[in-house]
Amino acid sequence: MGFSLKGVGLTHANGFRALRDVDLRVACGERVALVGASGAGKTTLLRVLAAALRPDTGRLSLLGTDPWDASPATLRRLRARIGLVHQAPPIPPRQRVVTAVLAGRLGQWPLWKSLASLLYPLDPEGARHQLARLDLGERLYERCDRLSGGQLQRVALARVLYQQPDLFLADEPVSAMDPALSELTVALLNEEASRRGVTLVASLHAVDLALRHFPRVIGVKEGQVLFDLPAGQVREAQLRELYAAEGSVPMAGLAVLPDAGQPAAAAPPPLRCA
């Protein structure tokens, strides 16, 4: 079981209806891209999947658990298994990169370990390993306010990579990166998800990135699922309808496809989302 939504609707406190009657089933180990104009409800959907927002209507099951029907302890354990990369990295500017990354395991660590690590980082090795995958290994002990927007976004990503969640969510994780880096990073996400056998859902602004890297693409418009297709079956007319409000379909432009773009064709790993 990856996750499933049935008739999920959500109205924000300001009265904006962000989601209406969303039905969605994603199996364990699937990799899904969310596309759609800004304001379509992608962020809200991802935050519902992260058990950070409670829907007003409908039924929700994440990794086999209904988060809003569970005890607080169960909810915390569930959240520790879900990782969300936020679009604007919510990291305190004065925090050091190592601390920001190690925070990924706060849900799994006992309290004493969280507190001790704040004074003396307990797993710099692990943090550096994830940062190095994103080409940031050298910035381990720097303060986050010394980084550029794109670098900060990669720190936020390293945090969730370090968390090793069973449900990997990413909200426009490459919006502050240049096309070549975006390509590499999206490929890395896919590689990580297939290697560990976990479910990946990422919203992307650039449609071509989504089509190139994800087997399944979901178009979201005005809080509803407009289409839900294998990447090869998405037609241009559907994309034009999806972005009717914006006038054109956003593209990253084809960067040189890196070798790492294709997941390693090893034996399929055991699925981790049951």
């Binding site: 992260a50 058990a51 950070a52 915390r76 354990r77 569930l78 959240r79 520790a80 298994r81 879900i82 990782g83 969300l84 936020h86 604007a88 919510p90 990291i91 305190p92 500017p93 004065r94 925090q95 601390t99 925070a103 990924g104 395991r105 706060l106 849900g107 799994q108 309290l111 969280s114 507190l115 704040l118 968390q163």
Partner: protein, 257 residues
Amino acid sequence: MRAGISPAGVFGLVLLAAAAAGSFAFLEMPLGALFTGSAAREAVAFVGRFIPPETDPAFLAKVGWAALETLAISLLSTLLAVLGGVTLALPAAGRQGPLARQAARFVLNLLRSVPELVWATLMVLAAGLGPFAGTLALALHTTGVLGRLFAEALENTPRAPAQAVTGLGAGPLAAFLYAVLPLVAPQWLAYALYRWEMNIRMAAILGFVGAGGLGALLYYSLSLFHEAEASTVILAMLAMAIAVDGASAWLRQRMAG
């Protein structure tokens, strides 16, 4: 071009003048007598008794000891107030529901509204004469002040980082330390240092009511009409205040980097 004073301003000035005149009349202050020749002569003679300051080594040692005591009172009370202030600021910023918020605000207002010296008279009763009473008194009042300032800083802090960390399954304490404290710490620290500057001045006079430090020495000296000694103590107070201002400015600059 608009002139400096509007009609409302004129009205305000008249009101102020009336209030001031009324106050002087109520207090029956012989303002005129202050500016007569004999008053001036008396004042000059009085000031003259303070010069030169006492420099007897034994007395200087006493002043030095009292100055250290004053420094200890100001530092410890500020430290305690930071702890108390943080404890009360969290509920006062509405993080534990509206009921806790009202209760915490009430306590903070109560602590803040009672002046340090009044707390000191009460603490002298509760803890006996001496610097401990002064430390408690300053800590209580400063907790009220800092708690309110800390709560305001908390309320103006973005919530996204803390929400992100609770979204990872972290508990409230871990979320606070990882995602709230780094955001508010610089401002909290600046407030604490600023209160330390105030507290060194207050710690110097708490001795008037028996709560230790330089104030006790000044009070005795003046009671015994040893003006030269009093003048040494006052100079020590000035020096302490200036030194703490400098230390506080230096720390603030270091922390801002």
